[in-house]
Symmetry: C2
Subunit: 806 residues, 2 copies
């Protein structure tokens, strides 16, 4: 077994150690002078307690910054991690130096390691000096502002006092700020001609509430080295005691305390002020149950680690894998700079602009990209709203109206939906009403479920076998459980149709609908989550069953028209809806969550109305789109204003959301087309055996997951604890056996497995880390982003195997 | 009458004129060399068709950039607007030069004017060169990136080829991008040592899809001026024909065409792909009915102006006052850089992070700031959702549950709300269900209104008098219309109570509720929009009536308990709800829209549940908070998970929204406390006469509007067309008389007044401008932001007076 890669990085933060990163507004602005000054001033407060780190240095040894520090601040420990002799940017210096080029991870790990050593031996201050300007490239070529972001050390920005320096300083500040850095202090030389200090101190006070300190310039270079050293020594001696410098140190000291105090008090404050979504507050035992999030980067939160609140040497933060993809939203990693810049661009170009009767570029681009991406002959219109729940309400208003008009129902004849048991479509009343009564809604006062919800066969890997499980009550109609060689075979719906697997499904569905019709039930739409029922308990539905449902409904208008009504005109277009409008709720399942642009493609069919949210913005801001066919759209077209679809939120199609969505969808498509997930696909999912045994004789259906197939199959063999397991796209769902036999959202069965993941690894070489994850009753699921790395998956797989002794 | 200020600025864009702004990544990066090269290369394509503008120049005349251009590109027209002789940043040069310091507006107007002249005389190209770096301050002290943003000229960024230049170039790009600039091309000198060109061309291709052009450096300075000129001439001659330069010109040419093509096609595309909110598509007569928004700044959109699609000299854009405050969301101006940076910071620090059981700084800060700002003894909890409609659903779930449990209603005994006629609380079904049947909801299939909705007296200025209007049907109970000396007197609810004005209101309300109780009606909450019913037609309700409703309900639990039920225990806390939970829908009316932090303060009472959205984020991204009392919160506290408030959207409390909201609320509070609206208050609203005639003997109630009192009173005297008018906070509502007598959302009465505002002023000296506004049936309303200037109000007032001959 290969050595597992080093665990993720906990951001360095210790109570006892005030760590600051020194960035320069430009090269040659005096970073090293200020580092020396700050080191010396800090050392006056804490003799022997100050350390200086230069992760990457370029230039001749005798001019190196660490030498300068040694010379003028001799009681400061100091270290350089990587030294290149050529005075150019590190990415070139590293390349031409013929030595190793450290990866970004290596640099980060070594920085953290040095900080940890400082904390352990009781240092009080650490200054980490970068090279060049904020965006000067590091050895790997990544610019420093991006490279060091996961450390999220608070920053001292050295401003530029030269001509043009105002601009440089503000821009550098903005580049840092938009990457989530806290710039705590700006320092620069006071100089009379350009007066940058005067301008910048006012500017930063007004716009950013950041103090700016001005320090007099170092003496001119003297004629002899000795004189030079003497003059500089004197300068440092004086300036490090000067109020301008000592105030900076005092300020940095307080900001450090405030950061920690805020982290420590936030949970208590939250329990007083916040009313949490989907939470029974009485079950919080105290602040420790609240996940205090300092920041997040890639797949990891940085959270307040469990530790003694007074310990000086416990690391305060730990890396926490975002195992629920932050309620299923994350696709492109937290704090993705591309998405940040997209958001900032739209904010700077528009803010929000009114969408009723208006159009702006981001909405136009997103609409056409989504419609093209869906590649559906039916969908031609995009309606915007704010979240999955509102998008579903829009879909319902569309679908029900269409059915009502075609079949001539009166306003008093309320229509229900046809759906699946355990479905969940959102928290607003209308969305709730299209799910069957359950723990989610039965205590909601205005809930009034309207519809019929089919039970259905599910797919699970059980004891190493891929199985279609038929519920007890349906066995008479649908037959027994059936095993398949692979998940891919189960998803080969056309191949299975050739074998006639769908016939019993279709017969059962038709018979049920006929019975309901005879009972006088009226329906206005089908609404289903294609393939996976998320909130309802991560059920993987046999796609052939959902396909059969759609097909039966479409070919059976007779099941939905009024009794004895004349047969309505056939729709003129072949892509018009028949039977009932079919609504696909792809809020969770769409946009590559299950590995494909649209989860409808697993059913090899097209919806009349399709709802998309969550991954739509890559995991940044709320936005939802409800796509509809022209046929549905035309239903609302009339000379009468009141026939319009009267729905629209204030921030409909807000440019920030649309621009971020354009960027996200584009990036997901790029990853798809460029083979970014080939590593995942090759983890047993697209095996030659699956291909050759494909029932249709066609190439195997392209089914894959971020989670390795052997992990899934191995865990499924722990049949004493695991009822079954499946993985698809970035989702892994472990159905745990509940001793008490209870299942569903309010079961506690998966809790103990979850506890192991939450405990994680407290002894990681890069600090402690764990997996933050959610359970849905007896189901523990893990959801990666679409950017999750093979390494993260390997590390979490080890924890899972450990948790289940597999 | 004072001369009105110059009208707003239309961003300069003409089909025939390719205008580009040249920004430098730093000072001394070669901006003038590149300007000269681009001018020369453009002039080869379009001899005599190129112009160069230097808005602000510093340094001795003989080194001025326009001289350089004259010398080396003599066929290029060129102009400098403001020249200062000292080679320092313009903000200092302007100050010490003892000449006038042009305001930002003056600079922008003159730039536009020069561009307009160029367009009119058939120039093809205009290059506008900035001074120093992107954030170098202009004469007024505003940095150039902010100063020139309203022009939104596309940009050529001159990169920095020196050591550190990679960082400078990327940061400068980001500062421009986050202000909505389109950087179309990066140009810089090719140089071997630092290889910035190689790095940057790869970087911009990968991250931003922007081409980078490298040009060889100019010759070294020669010993004699003559030689120097000769060498430079040769350099320009050669390089302006070199592919590196000519490719830039070709690219800029295509991007210009693409921008215009996109503006021209967007409306057609939108009518094909978009399904508009609250719109009857059949009423769109064609693309001209779609408002094509290029960008927005402050209170103004830049929209595609009506013009011949082939005209070369019509200005393509016009300034359009955002008169609906973009569906009532705008508070701090479009493209406010503070909000942009707040959004970018949160995106860079967190992206979105899961809020269930978690906490992050922006949510913690926002919660405590809102609770403090409300200054209510009742409200203590914050629940987050995405928009007003979802926030109302949350409020309903809270209120109904509380009433159900206290009064012991069973799940089958559905509770209604007590509300006001014409109320509107959102578009999701649950929110719709708490409004009476109307054109907004009666065709929505699952709409099922539950409640009783009171009719009420409204406030209007009619014929110059401030009047409380009692609806015909209520006169017997409530008395006749009553005139007051000022709006402030009407809002003096305590003073009016001392006079007993509330007694008939209270008796009427109590009698009505008694009657309903006898009819077996059951109620679970009161839900009202304090003071103004927005979507229901901008009705200003007599605040005393709403106060009476709250007071009657609170002192009358007997009206709401089950018949013959034992009297429930009195709530233990004095701030617990009594009678029914009172929900205030402040989605539209709160957070200074009506001039105060909370509109509940007009009623001098406190809600048990309060909903806030729209202005919450200052007008940038969707976010909503539902605030609740501890008493309501405790209702959901139980050992049973299923008793929890089961509501929560994926992006609940998304950090971007929360951080922007923190910044917005803080800024609104700062403006309030620093007297930013004193100019508006002094427009007749806080007169001494109002003060002395205050019924309570207290200082006059603080009522004011962005819209001048004399405007309101003058317009109200046009009684042939105006039924009444009111203004409060940033809202002005003109109730227009409808010849046909129809009123409400679907009336067309206000349309002709609106047409005048939409036509605006096509002959403005800064280009054409107009007022984009919405009507609600027979009501034309205008809504300013909280940043709207006295000048904008004066200009629009003139249009309004003209429209109504007042």
């Amino acid at each position: 077994m290969p050595v597992p890669p080093p665990p993720p990085l906990a951001s360095p933060l210790w109570r006892s150690l005030r760590s600051y990163q020194i960035f320069g507004a430009n090269t040659e602005v005096g970073k090293t002078v200020f580092s020396t000054l700050l080191c010396k001033a800090a050392a006056r407060r804490s003799p022997g307690g100050v350390a200086f780190l230069k992760p990457v240095s370029t230039g001749p040894d005798n001019e190196a910054d660490d030498r300068h520090i040694s010379k003028f601040a001799s009681d400061v420990s100091n270290k350089t991690l990587f030294q290149y002799k050529i005075p150019v940017s590190p990415h070139i210096a590293a390349r031409v130096s013929n030595t190793i080029i450290p990866s970004n991870d290596t640099l980060l790990f070594q920085c953290r390691d040095y900080a940890a050593q400082c904390a352990n031996i009781g240092r009080k201050w650490l200054f980490v000096e970068t090279a060049g300007g904020v965006h000067s490239p590091g050895p790997s070529g990544t610019t420093q502002a991006d490279l060091y972001a996961p450390l999220r050390l608070p920053v001292v920005l050295v401003g530029d006092s030269r001509l043009g320096g105002i601009s440089q300083t503000i821009s550098a500040f903005e580049s840092l700020r938009m990457r989530g850095y806290d710039v705590e202090s700006v320092v620069l030389f006071k100089e009379d001609k350009y007066q940058n200090f005067a301008y910048l101190s006012e500017y930063f006070a007004e716009h950013h509430n950041v103090p700016v300190a001005g320090v007099i310039e170092p003496p001119e270079r003297k004629s002899s080295l000795e004189e030079d050293v003497r003059a500089m020594s004197q300068y440092y001696e004086e300036q490090s005691q000067d109020g301008n410098t000592t105030n900076v140190i005092s300020h940095l000291d307080s900001r450090h305390e405030e950061r920690i105090a805020s982290l420590n008090s936030m949970a208590t404050e939250a329990l007083q002020n916040i009313w949490y979504p989907f939470a029974q507050h009485s079950l919080f035992t105290g602040p420790k149950d609240i996940n205090v999030i300092d920041s997040a980067h890639g797949d990891y939160f940085q959270t307040l680690a469990p530790s003694s609140p007074t310990s000086q040497t416990d690391s305060l933060l730990r890396a926490s894998f975002d195992g629920s993809a932050s309620w299923w939203t994350q696709g492109l990693g937290h704090a993705n700079p591309k998405l940040t810049l997209a958001a900032a661009y739209a904010a700077g170009r528009y803010g929000h602009v009114m969408f009723a009767g208006g159009i702006h570029r981001p909405a136009a681009e997103l609409s056409s990209r989504l419609l093209k991406g869906m590649n559906s002959p039916r969908l031609s219109r995009v309606f915007f709203s704010d979240n999955g729940s509102t998008g579903i309400e829009v879909a319902l208003k569309m679908g029900l109206r269409a059915a009502k008009l075609r079949y001539g129902w009166t306003p008093e004849e309320k229509l229900g939906v046809v759906g699946l048991k355990g479905s969940y479509h959102g928290d607003t009343i209308g969305a709730m009403d299209c799910s069957e009564p359950s723990g989610y809604n039965e205590k909601v006062e205005w809930y009034d479920g309207k519809g019929h919800w089919f039970d259905y066969p599910t797919v699970l890997c059980v004891g190493g076998k891929w199985r279609v499980n038929v519920p007890e009550e349906l066995r008479q109609a649908l037959g027994e459980d059936a095993d398949f060689g692979s998940l891919s075979e189960i998803f080969d719906v056309r191949g299975r149709e050739q074998k006639g697997h769908h016939l019993r499904y279709e017969a059962f569905i038709r018979e049920t609908l006929e019975r309901l019709q005879k009972q006088g039930r009226r329906f206005g739409s089908v609404i289903i989550e294609p393939v996976v029922l998320g909130a309802g308990g991560m059920a993987l539905v046999d796609p052939l069953f959902q396909r059969a449902l759609v097909n039966v409904v479409r070919k059976s208008p007779d099941l939905f028209r009024k009794p004895n009504a004349p047969i309505e005109e056939s729709p003129s277009s072949p892509t018009a809806w028949t039977g009932l409008p079919i609504i696909f709720d792809e809020v969770f399942t769409g946009l590559y969550r299950l590995g494909r642009f649209t989860s409808s493609s697993f059913l090899e069919t097209y919806a009349d109305i399709s709802v998309h949210a969550k991954l739509l913005t890559g995991g940044l801001v709320p936005l939802c789109t409800t796509l509809a066919s022209e046929d549905i759209f035309e239903t609302f077209n009339s000379p009468d204003k009141t026939d319009a679809l009267l729905h629209g939120h204030s921030y409909t199609a807000h440019p920030v959301g649309c621009q971020v969505a354009v960027e996200s969808v584009k990036e997901l498509q790029r990853m798809d087309h460029s083979g970014s997930w080939n590593w995942a696909k090759s983890q047993g999912w697209t095996t030659p055996e699956a291909s050759s045994s494909s029932a249709s004789g066609q190439p195997a259906v392209d089914i894959w997951s971020t989670w390795p197939r052997d992990l899934v199959e191995d865990l499924s063999r722990q049949t004493d604890r695991v009822a079954g397991i499946w993985a698809l796209g970035s989702v892994l769902a472990i159905h745990v056996k509940d001793a008490a036999g209870s299942t569903g959202y309010f079961s506690d069965a998966a809790q103990s497995l979850r506890d192991g993941l939450i405990a994680g690894d407290a002894e990681g070489v890069n600090g402690s880390w764990n997996v933050h994850c959610r359970v849905l009753g007896n189901v523990l699921y893990l959801m990666a982003s679409q950017k999750t790395t093979e390494e993260s998956v390997a590390q979490i797989s080890l924890l899972l195997r450990k948790g289940l002794n597999a």
